[in-house]
Structure formats: C-alpha cells, structure tokens
C-alpha cells in the first residue's frame, strides 16, 4: 500500500475556531493510554500531554483577550528530533509521520532536547491508573513503561486499522473518514486531519489558504501541521 506512497498525513489547526475547551486533550489521554497527570506530576513538571492548549493573554484588563494555540507533535519533514537518536527509536516513515518505536528507545532524552516544540515526553515514572480506570485502557495502544519517550502519533493505530480496512474492501480513502481522537472530539472543527497528498482533501485545500502559517518557520523544520491565523474582528 505504501509503495506508491499515496499518503502524507497532515493536520490543519484553525486558531480562529479554537475555543480552548481542552476536549482534544482529554480525548487524546483516553485514546492513547496516556497516564494520569496528577497534581504531583504537574508540580514536578513531568506531566504528559500529547496535545496541549497554549493560552496567550492579550491586552490590559478589562479589554483582555485570550488566544489559544493547540500544540501537538508537528510531524516535521526535517524533524530535528530524529537524527539525534542513537538507536533509530524515532524516524520518519514514508507517510510523513514522525514515528516513535518504544521498543528501541533507551531513554537518552536527546530527542526531547532537540525538539523545538516541546511535544516529546519522557516517562519518569511507571504509568499508573486507579483500579477503576484500568478497564478503559485502549487495547490497540501500548502502555509505555518508564524510561522511554513518547509523543503524539496522529493516532497511528487508527491509521493502520483504516488502511487494513481499505485494503480489504479494495477502495480509496474517503476524505474525513479517518480522524485521530482529538479531531474527532473537537466541537468546533478547529482541527482537521487528512491526506495532504490528495489535492481534493479538505486539509490540502485549507493548507493553501491565505491565513496559513507553521510554527517556528525560521527553523526550517517543515511541519505537517499547518495553522490558520486568527481573524481579528475589531481591526
């Protein structure tokens, strides 16, 4: 399937639509077996959120405005985190994903240092859930042990399941039928996921709009996550 290399997964984040509701964060935690971020872990600065909402305050009270910026792994084409790994635990696959191979990881944490977006997380502790929550773990996703790195995978388990489905049914992907958990959950459709190689897909069209930009463009990492600028109403 991937020989023809017909996929290049990408996401468009429309910051104009984002309300900062954090539903994507919760959905991601549930889908990907991310361990619970207790108060303790936040204080230790060791919380794990594969997607997070950055909040910027603008203006002086009473004219304060909040701006939200959902940040997840940018799946860069020239990902700085990849070449520094000594054991190939992270590399770029031919569908444009920056993948993390948990088995190979020895935990040098070098990738986290060379990650300009702060979207890589280290398991300082063994992940734990309250007894009641153990049954809700997603069977498709590995539970990561302590001592290794993890990060957003664009819900790679959903991608591969869908690809198997397509192969069995012998059909092409319909735009919009494949959604990572965060996209699925977003109430305002601020997150859009799809195949950037398909010029008719929604992501490809949105990515070409006039409002697009990418995070830290001057670093030349060429992310596959494209942001759309906020529209200023009072200008």
């Amino acid at each position: 399937m991937s020989e023809k290399n017909e996929f290049k997964w990408g996401m468009v984040v429309d910051t104009d639509r984002c309300t900062g509701c954090q539903a994507c964060v919760i959905a991601c935690q549930a889908e990907n077996n991310v361990s619970l971020n207790t108060e303790d872990r936040f204080h230790q600065r060791r919380a794990i959120e594969w997607i997070r909402i950055e909040r910027y305050w603008e203006g002086e009270y009473p004219n304060v405005k909040a701006k939200f910026l959902p940040v997840l792994c940018q799946h860069c084409e020239n990902a700085p985190c990849e070449p520094v790994c000594p054991v190939f635990a992270t590399y770029h696959n031919n569908e444009g994903l920056n993948v993390q191979v948990y088995n190979r990881c020895v935990g040098t944490r070098y990738c986290a240092n060379n990650d300009p977006y702060q979207v890589r997380f280290f398991n300082f502790w063994e992940p734990q859930w309250p007894k009641t929550l153990e049954n809700q773990l997603n069977p498709d996703v590995t539970v990561r042990t302590r001592g290794i790195m993890e990060k957003c995978t664009f819900c790679v388990q959903r991608i591969s399941r869908k690809q198997r489905e397509l192969k069995n049914e012998g059909r092409d992907l319909v735009d919009g039928e494949l959604k990572p958990a965060c996209v699925q959950t977003c109430p305002t459709d601020a997150l859009v996921f799809g195949n950037l190689k398909d010029p008719k897909s929604k992501v490809a069209k949105m990515a070409k709009g006039s409002r697009h930009y990418r995070l830290l463009e001057s670093l030349g990492t060429e992310p596959n996550v494209i942001y759309l600028k906020k529209v200023e109403e009072n200008v």
Partner: protein, 175 residues
C-alpha cells in the same frame, strides 16, 4: 648452511656506564660483530652513547597499515549500517558524509594507534618468553654486556670484560 658451532654466553656487569663503554670499545677492537654482543641498561642512555651501531627499524610502516585498515573497516561499517536499513531521519540523506567522516576518522586513528603499539612491541623484539642470561642488578643501575660467542673466542671476550672493569661475570648457555 654453515655447520652448527656451539656458542656460549657471557654476561659482564658494570657499575659504571663508562666501564661498559670501554668494554664495547674493546669488543669492537677485537672484531666482535655488533650481533655478538648486547648492551643492557636500566637507564635510557642517549642513542649511540656506548659507541654501538644504531639499528634500523621499520616502525613507521605500522601506523600507515593500521590507519588504512581502520579506515576501511570504519567506512564499511558506517556505509553498511546506513544502507542495510535505510531509515530517514530529519530529512538527512541516507548516506550522510559528515557523520561518516567523524566515525571514519576515529576508526582510522584507532587502527593507527593499535598497529603502532603492535609495531613497537614487535620491533623491540618483544615479547621474549625467556629472559636468558640476565641479572637483576641491571635495573638497579648496572650496565650489562651480554656476549654470545664461540668457544674459541670466549676467553678473549672474558678478558676484555674483566679488563674494562666488570664487577661480576656470569656464564651461561645462549637461549
């Protein structure tokens, strides 16, 4: 092939380097070849100080061989590991020359150094399983002169050593 002539060894011990130098001079006067006697000292005297002929060595060949070997192995290893499982990382080419240069450099230097050390040991005619005729006073400041010669010249050698002031003379079989 010459017929085998039995030889005997003789070790003269000198408390001063001057005496040993006299002995070397005496031996050379009596047409003893440089191969017939060896000087042993616990102190590195400057080259040629005893008037001995300096020997040639081929030590400088070793680092080059080692460097070539190390270079080849390192190039092979870096190329093979990248090509055999081509994973793209960070948009860098599969055969990335600068990192290869770094590792190849280390490999080259490692090869050169290991071979140099082997060369030093080999060219010093070491390791030597048996010490042969030897005296422990040599490392405590004495200079020893080991003469290995045929029976007929044995006496001459002994005379020279005694005349030069050898404190002690040991006899033994050559190894």
């Amino acid at each position: 092939m010459t017929t085998f002539i039995p030889k005997r060894s003789l070790l003269g011990l000198f408390s001063t380097a001057d005496g040993a130098a006299d002995a070397v001079e005496g031996l050379q006067d009596q047409d003893f070849d440089d191969k017939d006697f060896e000087i042993m000292s616990g102190t590195p005297y400057p080259e040629g100080a005893f008037g001995e002929k300096t020997t040639n060595h081929r030590l400088y060949v070793f680092p080059f061989i080692g460097a070539a070997l190390g270079f080849a192995v390192a190039i092979l290893l870096t190329t093979a590991t990248q090509v055999s499982y081509p994973l793209v990382t960070g948009g860098k080419p599969i055969l990335s020359i600068p990192p290869m240069a770094i590792i190849t450099y280390e490999g080259t230097m490692l090869g050169a150094i290991i071979f140099t050390v082997l060369g030093i040991i080999f060219e010093s005619r070491l390791p030597r399983p048996k010490l042969g005729l030897y005296d422990e006073r040599i490392t405590a400041g004495y200079v020893g002169i080991l003469v290995t010669t045929t029976e007929d010249r044995f006496k001459t050698a002994k005379e020279i050593l005694t005349k030069a002031g050898a404190e002690d003379i040991k006899e033994g079989e050559p190894d």
